[in-house]
């Protein structure tokens, strides 16, 4: 029997902060408070245990250790004083999976309308996994998928099915 296309591992979701603001006006202040450069459209920037991803023209997602969330929320709110902005701790509403292996892109291509061959190493896609929304970006050896906690079981079922042994997308 062939091997699964990828191994599916549920992750302990780290801290996550949703940031909405006018990135042109407030970008520098956010970068300073987040400790990371503002990513280009559909990209993320990362350093150490922090990750900052582009979610929409006025939305970013900051991922960081849970222990640092409260301080970061306060720092961001401080930095955005006087700006129309929204900073929210959304750490608890998420579920995440690592899809690791040579066939990780193939497994995900069965569920998400993403051209993984053209996804940059620092690229992030806010997309969907079959019927639920998610974000996907590359991690070492595969991809990380983050969606909503209520559908974690659904996402696991999808990913395990898509990675079933012998189901490579390679032409036969």
């Amino acid at each position: 029997m062939a091997e699964a296309l990828a191994t599916i591992t549920e992750i302990a979701t780290p801290g996550m902060i949703q940031i909405r603001a006018d990135l042109d006006r407030a970008g520098d202040a956010i970068a300073e408070a987040a400790g990371l450069a503002i990513p280009a459209q559909t990209r993320f920037s990362a350093a150490g245990d922090r990750w900052l991803g582009w979610m929409s023209p006025d939305e970013l997602l900051l991922i960081l250790p849970r222990a640092d969330v409260a301080e970061a929320v306060a720092a961001l709110n401080d930095a955005l004083t006087g700006e129309h902005a929204l900073v929210l701790d959304v750490s608890d509403m998420r579920a995440g999976f690592d899809v690791i292996g040579n066939g990780a892109g193939e497994a995900l291509a069965k569920l998400a309308p993403v051209d993984f061959a053209r996804l940059a190493g620092d690229g992030v896609r806010r997309t969907r996994l079959a019927q639920v929304s998610c974000a996907i970006w590359p991690v070492g050896g595969g991809y990380r998928v983050v969606g909503f906690r209520s559908v974690a079981d659904y996402m696991r079922g999808l990913l395990q099915g898509a990675a079933r042994p012998g189901t490579t997308l390679a032409p036969r």
Partner: protein
């Protein structure tokens, strides 16, 4: 018996491997095919020429084609859950152990009782069903339709669940070439040379299309191209993949067969590719057309191309003496192939007055008689060809001579496959010289940039020979022949099939024209031409040509019917993909889901959530569980998992202004620290959602929606913000899942919460409709003092990851208080006891807040809110709108849900007049009697009146109109 003509040739067969025999069963008989055979070639090799019965007349039918266009040879495949009807024998590879069965025949293929229809053909003309079953009106539904449905239909639907797996996949390419024939392969090479990412899709297991069969060094040419393409990193070649439809924006669907007929590999049976193509090149080839002569449907009459495919690809011959009948040079290739295989070709019948091209001359040189200016007047034989009657093509069918034969290879010319090109709006031109419709390169289907998103190449573009690539010899032009012979008698026209699967004949189309049908689309539906599972692949052009002739107009004036996806039928399994079983739909689970499940929750689906309806104990009925839960709440304390309630953050300098527009009442004046109940209406004024908003800070509100309304209301907010008030400074965020929420309800609610410790929840610190933030049992919490039950009630929100911890603590610490988890039904009953409305019960999309006596929640001061102007329309202010009241059942029976209150007289449809409708109805365990709410004509002014409610299958229920607040009218219990 005349149906044992077909046989396996001793040598040859490009696609078969004689070393491997493949046993299979057909209608219970054991047969043997060879590795590489299709079911059709394997059946032919076993002498089984007859493979099915036609739809209407149950005529015996053999295959007429060798590919996807086959209308006749449709079989039932497999058994049990894997049974699949209407599978084309010509495209289904034979697999060891395969079980196949013929269709549309009873009791058996050879002795089919339905064939009696064949002798009643005069009674089944075009539009037969419409004409016959018009009167009496009720008879169609109750008498005719059930009988026709039982006797009609080709394959049977499977009755068991499909055990196979299916999947979908998203694909991307700069250029997708559809068709792996020589033209497609060359197009792929050219696109690849420009540096494009190229994907080539081929519906068959083999590359090269017709070229290896039709051209002397065809295989070599195809192999050379393939070798070139395989060496290119930017080309992907995918076999067994049928492009089914082309949609807007270069969205191409294709079905890849992975384990179609070997289901035990454990891999998905089929995969549906959803491809975004930068550009699509249709290299889909062409299909040969039959000729319309009397008896052209007798088994053994085949397309000329199919005959040489069966000989060349599979080394099976449909007969030993093959007559070729044609209007073009190409069919002479079949005569040559038959001769090369050692078969007899007694005569080639050519409708043209001369036939002196290279191919006809080559056939003459082999000593074959070529009869020009000739046609077939009729075919002798019923289950197989016995002889062919020859006449002048220009005459009326006087038989000049009869030639014994056991197969006929016919060719009426070729039609480019224009389906994909046409699916998305590509236009066609009629080519009078070549006699076919072909893509007009000047009018392609357009992409988002206004440029063509598809182009056609090779035979699909009208270049039938693709001589530049195949080296094909020159051919002389063909003669359009739509009826053979030209002046055939009326009787003969009744035997000339156009649509083989649906039994539509020349006479049917002519009759339709005679009866006034002019549009090809109407004629199609009237005669059923092209409406079968093959969608008229071999019949369309012939049919519309006959229609044009009958209407005395040119073929382009008639035009084609609309080409729609899928190109060949798609299994429903591929459309469902992975969405079946456990992952049919996303099932949303709260942080307390597993606890609820462990404690016996009976589930109620609400949106995609599963909520506990009640928690039956032991053998307790649901009703008993609900009653127990309600009594426990009203007596002491209960907990409700309210995590599913929608929670939307609304923040910004304009948030107050925005919420004043969204809600019917005032939200901007709500003080920080307070909660307010509000109503949300649609633009048309109808009540669509309700809930409690809390002001978190100067510029931030947290809005609660109904469980099912969260996504919808968030979308509603964003719609207005993004499309109408894009300059308002408001951000919204749906944080429903960030919080686990528990309603702690009952006279002992405060006592229980105080045991958790950490917050002052006294009436002074946290008054009714206030909220406070702090820690409970060390868990960060926001506590809202709101009540949907009339009891003292706190809704406690904690981060979702700690929801279960809070819930379990409440149950640990409240054991002596008899703390009871309660479900949605107890919640529903308790709110009804208090006369609180429920979205979806009291509202149904036609109800405005004023109908429900909620005028107190509608601001009179505000200049505007969504729905305000609609609510001022005359119909909305009509005093005769039904209004909310309570109901007391007179005899103790629960009033049926949705029941109507009858009024005197009848309406224009002879139905009883009505004056009200039940919106909620329960047995109240608290009051020990039935309670109900209803919308009633002038209801609030008719307190004490008695209404009679319909009760299907029982005595009507009488009820007295009363105040909808049944319990604790003074509202003191909410204060604890």
């Amino acid at each position: 018996m005349s149906d044992n003509h077909s046989f396996r040739l001793a040598t040859g067969g490009r696609l078969i491997d004689r070393a491997y025999q493949v046993p299979f069963r057909f209608d219970g008989r054991q047969m043997r095919g060879l590795e590489g055979d299709t079911l059709a070639s394997a059946l032919l090799a076993n002498g089984q020429l007859m493979m099915g019965r036609s739809f209407k007349y149950h005529r015996p039918r053999g295959p007429i084609a060798s590919g996807a266009e086959e209308p006749n040879a449709l079989l039932g495949l497999g058994r049990g859950g894997r049974f699949e009807p209407n599978q084309r024998a010509t495209t289904t590879p034979v697999v060891a152990g395969m079980v196949t069965s013929s269709q549309n025949c009873w009791p058996s293929l050879n002795a089919d009782i339905g064939a009696v229809n064949n002798w009643l053909w005069r009674f089944f003309p075009a539009g037969f069903y419409y004409k016959t079953f018009m009167q009496p009106r009720g008879a169609w539904k109750h008498l005719f339709e059930p009988v026709i449905r039982r006797s009609a239909g080709l394959g049977k639907a499977p009755t068991e669940a499909d055990p196979d797996k299916y999947e979908q996949a998203y694909g991307f390419a700069d250029v997708v070439v559809v068709g792996g024939g020589i033209a497609g392969l060359a197009a792929a090479r050219d696109a690849a040379a420009e540096g494009k990412q190229v994907l080539v899709l081929e519906q068959n297991p083999h590359w090269g299309g017709r070229t290896p069969t039709d051209h002397a060094d065809g295989q070599g040419r195809v192999d050379a191209l393939l070798a070139e393409l395989r060496a290119l990193p930017n080309v992907t070649l995918r076999r067994n993949t049928m492009a089914t439809g082309l949609y807007d924006h270069g969205y191409l669907l294709a079905r890849e067969a992975l384990a179609d007929h070997d289901p035990n590999q454990g891999i998905p049976r089929q995969r549906l590719w959803r491809i975004r193509a930068g550009h699509v090149i249709t290299a889909t080839g062409a299909l040969e057309r039959p000729l319309a002569f009397a008896g052209n449907d007798v088994p053994g009459v085949m397309l000329a191309s199919a005959v040489r495919d069966f000989i060349g690809d599979y080394a099976v011959a449909p007969g030993r003496r093959i007559v070729v009948v044609t209007n073009n040079d190409d069919a002479y290739r079949t005569a040559l192939a038959a001769l090369d295989a050692g078969l007899e070709v007694p005569v080639v019948i050519d409708a043209r007055s001369t036939a002196d091209g290279d191919l006809p001359q080559a056939v003459r040189a082999r000593g074959v008689r070529v009869l020009t200016g000739s046609g077939i007047a009729g075919v002798k034989g019923y289950r197989g060809v016995e002889a062919v009657k020859i006449c002048d093509q220009t005459g009326s069918g006087d038989v000049r001579e009869t030639v014994e034969a056991d197969a006929v290879a016919m060719s009426g010319g070729w039609s480019p496959v224009v389906h994909l090109w046409s699916h998305c709006g590509g236009k066609l031109n009629w080519n009078a010289d070549s006699v076919f419709f072909a893509p007009d390169p000047a009018r392609p289907p357009l992409g988002a940039d206004g440029k063509g998103m598809a182009s056609a190449t090779g035979a699909a573009a009208g270049d039938l020979r693709v001589a530049a690539l195949t080296g094909a010899v020159q051919e002389r032009s063909l003669l359009p022949v739509w009826v053979m012979p030209e002046h055939a008698t009326r009787k003969a026209r009744f035997k000339m099939w156009l649509d083989f699967q649906n039994d539509v004949k020349v006479s049917d189309v002519e009759l339709a024209a005679q009866e006034g049908y002019e549009s090809v689309e109407h004629t199609k539906r009237y005669t059923t031409l092209g409406m079968a599972t093959d969608q008229g692949k071999v019949s369309n052009i012939n049919g519309l040509a006959v229609l044009s002739k009958a209407l005395s107009q040119a073929i382009p004036a008639t035009g084609t019917t609309t080409f729609r996806p899928p190109y060949t039928p798609l299994t429903l399994g591929t459309i469902a993909g992975e969405a079946r079983g456990e992952i049919f739909q996303p099932l949303r689970k709260t942080p307390m889901h597993d606890w609820n499940e462990r404690h016996g929750a009976h589930w109620e689906p609400v949106g995609h959530w599963r909520r506990a309806y009640c928690y039956p104990k032991g053998g307790e009925s649901h009703a008993a569980a609900v009653a127990r839960e309600i009594r426990a709440v009203r007596a002491s304390v209960g907990t409700l998992d309210a995590s599913t309630l929608g929670k939307i953050i609304v923040k910004g300098p304009d948030a107050g202004k925005f919420l004043d527009m969204m809600y019917t009442n005032m939200m901007s004046t709500l003080p920080v620290g307070k909660c307010r109940y509000g109503l949300i209406c649609s633009e048309n004024g109808f009540l669509t959602d309700d809930g409690v908003a809390a002001r978190l800070s100067d510029d931030t509100w947290l809005v609660h929606t109904t469980t099912g309304g969260a996504d919808r209301i968030h979308g509603h907010f964003e719609d207005w913000l993004q499309c109408e008030w894009w300059d308002w400074k408001v951000y919204t965020a749906n944080v429903t899942e960030q919080w686990a929420q528990v309603a702690v309800v009952g006279p002992q609610a405060r006592t229980l919460l105080e045991r958790l410790g950490g917050m002052d929840l006294s009436p002074e610190a946290l008054p009714f409709m206030g909220w406070a933030e702090g820690e409970l049992a060390g868990i960060p919490a926001r506590v809202y003092r709101i009540s949907f039950s009339g009891e003292l009630s706190f809704e406690v929100a904690v981060p979702a990851n700690r929801g279960l911890e809070l819930w379990e603590k409440l149950h640990d610490l409240g054991r002596d208080l008899d703390v009871t988890p309660y479900g949605t039904e107890a919640m529903h009953v308790m709110r009804a006891e208090k006369g609180f409305i429920m979205i979806g019960d009291e509202t149904d999309g036609t109800v405005i807040p004023q109908d429900l006596g909620l005028n107190w929640a509608i601001s009179k001061k505000k200049a505007d809110y969504i729905g305000k102007r609609a609510q001022e329309r005359s119909h909305m202010t009509d005093p005769n709108r039904w209004k909310l009241v309570g109901l007391e059942s007179l005899d103790g029976r629960v009033i049926p849900d949705g029941a109507y209150a009858v009024a005197s007289g009848r309406n224009g449809n002879h139905q009883r007049n009505t004056q009200g409708r039940v919106t909620s109805t329960y047995f109240s365990p608290t009051l020990n009697k039935p309670i109900a709410m209803a919308l009633v004509l002038n209801g609030p002014d008719r307190m004490g009146d008695i209404l009679e409610f319909t009760n299907p299958g029982g005595e009507p229920v009488k009820a007295r109109i009363c105040d909808p607040v049944f319990y604790d009218k003074e509202g003191t219990r909410a204060n604890g």
